[in-house]
Symmetry: C2
Subunit: 707 residues, 2 copies
Amino acid sequence: MKLVLTLSLVAHLLLAAPAALAQTALDGFNAERAQAQRRREEQFRAVPAPNSAREHLRILTREPHIAGTKADYDTAVYVRDQLRSYGIAAELKEYDVWLNYPNSPSIVELIASRRQRLNIHEPVVPGDPTSSHPNITPLFNGYSATGDVTAPVVYANYGLPNDYDDLKKAGVDVKGKIVIVRYGNSFRGVKAKVAEDRGAVGCIIYSDPADDGYMQGDIYPKGPWRSGESGQRGSVQYLFDYPGDPLTPGRPAIPGVERLKPEEATNLTRIPVQPISYDAARAILSVLKGPVRPRGFQGGLPFAYHLGGTNDVKLRLKTDMDYKIRKIWNVIGRIDGNEEKERWVILGNHRDAWVFGAVDPNSGTSAMLEVGRGLGELMKQGWKPRRTIIFASWDAEEYGLIGSTEWAEELAAELKEKAVAYLNLDVAVSGPHFGASSVPSLWKLMRGATMDVKDPKTGKSVYQQWQDRSREGRSEGEPTTEARIGPLGSGSDYTPFLQHLGIPSTDMGFGGDYGVYHSSYDSFYWMDKFGDPGFVYHVAAAQLWGTLTLRLADADGLQFDYTDYAKQIREYFTETVRIAGRRNLGSSFDERSMNVALDAFANEAQRVNKLREDAVRDADRQRLLRINDALIQTERQLIDPRGLRGRAWYKHQIYAPGFYTGYAAQPLTDFRQALDDRNGPNAKESLENIVQAIKRAANTLKQAHGD
Amino acid sequence: MKLVLTLSLVAHLLLAAPAALAQTALDGFNAERAQAQRRREEQFRAVPAPNSAREHLRILTREPHIAGTKADYDTAVYVRDQLRSYGIAAELKEYDVWLNYPNSPSIVELIASRRQRLNIHEPVVPGDPTSSHPNITPLFNGYSATGDVTAPVVYANYGLPNDYDDLKKAGVDVKGKIVIVRYGNSFRGVKAKVAEDRGAVGCIIYSDPADDGYMQGDIYPKGPWRSGESGQRGSVQYLFDYPGDPLTPGRPAIPGVERLKPEEATNLTRIPVQPISYDAARAILSVLKGPVRPRGFQGGLPFAYHLGGTNDVKLRLKTDMDYKIRKIWNVIGRIDGNEEKERWVILGNHRDAWVFGAVDPNSGTSAMLEVGRGLGELMKQGWKPRRTIIFASWDAEEYGLIGSTEWAEELAAELKEKAVAYLNLDVAVSGPHFGASSVPSLWKLMRGATMDVKDPKTGKSVYQQWQDRSREGRSEGEPTTEARIGPLGSGSDYTPFLQHLGIPSTDMGFGGDYGVYHSSYDSFYWMDKFGDPGFVYHVAAAQLWGTLTLRLADADGLQFDYTDYAKQIREYFTETVRIAGRRNLGSSFDERSMNVALDAFANEAQRVNKLREDAVRDADRQRLLRINDALIQTERQLIDPRGLRGRAWYKHQIYAPGFYTGYAAQPLTDFRQALDDRNGPNAKESLENIVQAIKRAANTLKQAHGD
């Protein structure tokens, strides 16, 4: 009882205080500078406008613009030219990367009592004008292998390792079979990888209506959810191994660089993989025999699912992929800093889409252009940022973060020295609910920015609305804490910056009922009708992104708080130790050395906070430069050049995607994986690497003192 | 960690010990008597046989035998004559009670763009011979009102109060409308009551495939689950107010007794209520407009549910009920005790069914007859029980525990003096998984009996299989404790015995995938094919029931352990205090006085255990009589003659069905309800009543000492 009261009191103070202070203090700036900064931010936030955001989106989503196509190139030119029109220097940056398109649409044919060719085209939807576009990409998976297999079918639920364990328990063998799995609970590349590892010869991935269809709400075009004939495209790259161009891991895909042979690339599947709709899946699943599904396997189609595996129901899966080295085009814009030109604040969003990509990613592209327009207005009034601001419009993100990864690999040395932070925005808007992920050192900055942007629907601050909504979901008596800012896993372009190079990163967006992900119905019409009628959340996203950018670019003392980082790592560690205990692995590693390292890190973080505060107040430029550099370089220390176990491209010791989640972060990655594998020696070694990283980070913070 | 290890060690000992001791000690008997008792029990358990159980079931389920019909009477005569054939005196016992049948099948007609009469007949199923019987009861609800209403339709989820709160939040009013609700999460009478209270003019109840249909598994006749055209009949009596004949609450429905007018009966609904299948529900739900359903409302039909309430979709519901005072027939069999004739061990099962009732209730009737046959065999060898054993085959349980309630009301005074325990069995078998509910004083007896009966499928003891299965469902690291024996709520015939009279009661059965509840497919064919092929679990149920009976009927010292009772009440209280704290009601009642009373009760319980043990060892008959009477009368003290708040028929201070659950027990009933109502003064008063009851119980235990 007491604990609950105390916590909610603290939360109350936390929530109440910033509003009162909002108009006065501003972290990173002294009192006088804060006022000017706030005025400038307000000028900036007055610029982004619904009509303008709407027009960007309309133009960007006129045509399907999958990476490497002419239509994709056209959007690059549009972004470049728009940035230039705001007074921002901008250029295309080209890479040559390994991409596949389907030569011909795949064949999915059921061979049960009779043969039945299943539909893999998304039909025209009355009212949605782009849905009849002749160039709509057929349903296919990026980086699927070419293949033509005919085999019995097994339903493998979400296609996770424990699903296959359940199949085994039920006596169903997947070797030599085609598995059909549903989307959800893991990145689709993981589904392909596990299917391949278990001996399946092909893999069908479908959207189950329980997860992504009528059980979530009204289906398109009546509502925003996935309809029966809609499928989810997407890459099946093993991006948990490494992202980017499969043929140039760790190197940029530019002329002259050494390339792997495709068969040497370890992040590609060797089996055909194909997405289908739930109407098509229904035709397969409804005729499967074999055992009734175990607990947790039932989906939302109106019959009892069976596991299949019998010889009387077979499927033919034929994929015919046109693999080539193809050109892709990032757009890089730049506003040079007038005092610290060699310190970069980077804003990134991808531009390529599986089809039209109104939500994913061009709501973000539209927001980025509005940020550019806003900063352009400030420049017209004579403003220049203290630090350099870089706009990055990435290409081929959908295939596996290709554009961002190649660029980060090409500029690795420079980025390690110069990058202050990487601010990602992929989906800016699919609805009205704010959400964010970031490294813990930037939590306070993120929260502060949301306090100064209005939520369009409620008129409250984005912060307040975010907190209120988060509290709604809580049950009676649960302690009231601030809405959670998630950990960064993968699935968008922050990955090369944070997890390969150690650059502090954030990601955010406004979410909602989004049932057209990676379908041809992720269209301008959908956005206009369901996602953001009025385009007000596009504006809010631009205001938020720009506010973050201005604060980081102009701050005297960078707003990085490593006490939050230390606290968060300690929570991860406590939780992981608990898991270790349950698995009787509690004595296999040195818990104490981690606690000592964390204590030291937390102490240094607290000292630096005080130091920075004093230096900001005293406007002591020399000290601030040293402190800021220490703060920037601290995150870098969490990088271990040896990389993670078995996947050396990933080097961050705290954050990486889980091997079997693919997107979702698995904090303290290798340590946690070792515990999942019940491997004591690996757990010990992984924790030692983490402890070393934390010690390096603490030492770097110490350098802020310059003594 | 330590706690986990310790608990699992204790559990291990608990699990290991009884097996080792099984052949030696037997609670309630001294060493010498134990051996004879065990031999006798084994003789008994050798009698029940699959063929015989199967034949009983075949005969009992030949015809639909709803309460009060000729076919029902025929089953009464069969049970009576079978008991007599085993040498057990048996008689019919008639009551005159208020029952309804449909005069004509109900009309459910959709009036949307076109009129559509919905099917409410369960079709013939190939292979199930009784499914074509001409007398199959139409789909209707017992105690529905007669009515003919046409109104807009609102989907109200499970029809619980918070579902209506959600409707209100969504702006949907149910006043003057027909609500359609799904089965589950509450007794259907609660659904009718809440609908009526909220102003609905009619109520449709359907079986959703998410809860009871294809999402659970293959549907009949391919599998055991509910098919699209099958509906669930059942009573909508407000049995949480009082069960039994609606016109004679608290009194027996015999000639000369004063009767209420039907309109005075407070346990009857005033609106028409009608069950339908999910195929019929689909026709309604799929055309509803209004808001998309809130979280938790979506069921398993293949579209997004809407709440309805708009004027363009209406329903006509017409019910035409033939209400009359009708005759029903209990069968009461009796084996007189040869030493304590005026102490009764009562076995009860109902016999009436909505249609054929192979599972519910005649698997229990078949098991009861096998118990009778087994005891008959013992009698042939000269055995007579020490105490009297009564067999009760109840009628009209389905309408609201009518037969059992009227009998308990008629014999109230005698039962209060003489009843040792009431052992209920309603559904004996719907699958292989053992489950039980009972007062805590009988937990050890129940567990002990399951250790001596074999689980037919595995060859392990029922106890071991029950524990193993219970452990399977637990997650990693959860403490291992014994499988839970549930609390007794309502929904079967133990209610008048435990909750009106304070007679220690048990309920049990073997459960499984049971998707034909209260449908015409709860048939002999279903049982033979899915429920219990081979009828081996019918045999196990009879063995278990008879073993419990023999132990209680022949024990020197009755196997009642009130330390378990005290411990269980303390757990309920701790949990409830926690809830009070969350609602800031923690200071509204006297927690200390309850803890003092529980301490005293627990102490006395422990002293009596020791006393009984000594008296059994010493074979001290005089002391044993005094101790046994104290043990029997202790449960009686938990009865408060004033009854529960607003429903005086329910008198037990610890166990009663919740007002808004209807079946499920809500321990510390009135106290808990006051907290749910956020009513501090009621909470205080209710807890005082409970404290008094526990004090009375402790005092009664003290009388065992005779000093």
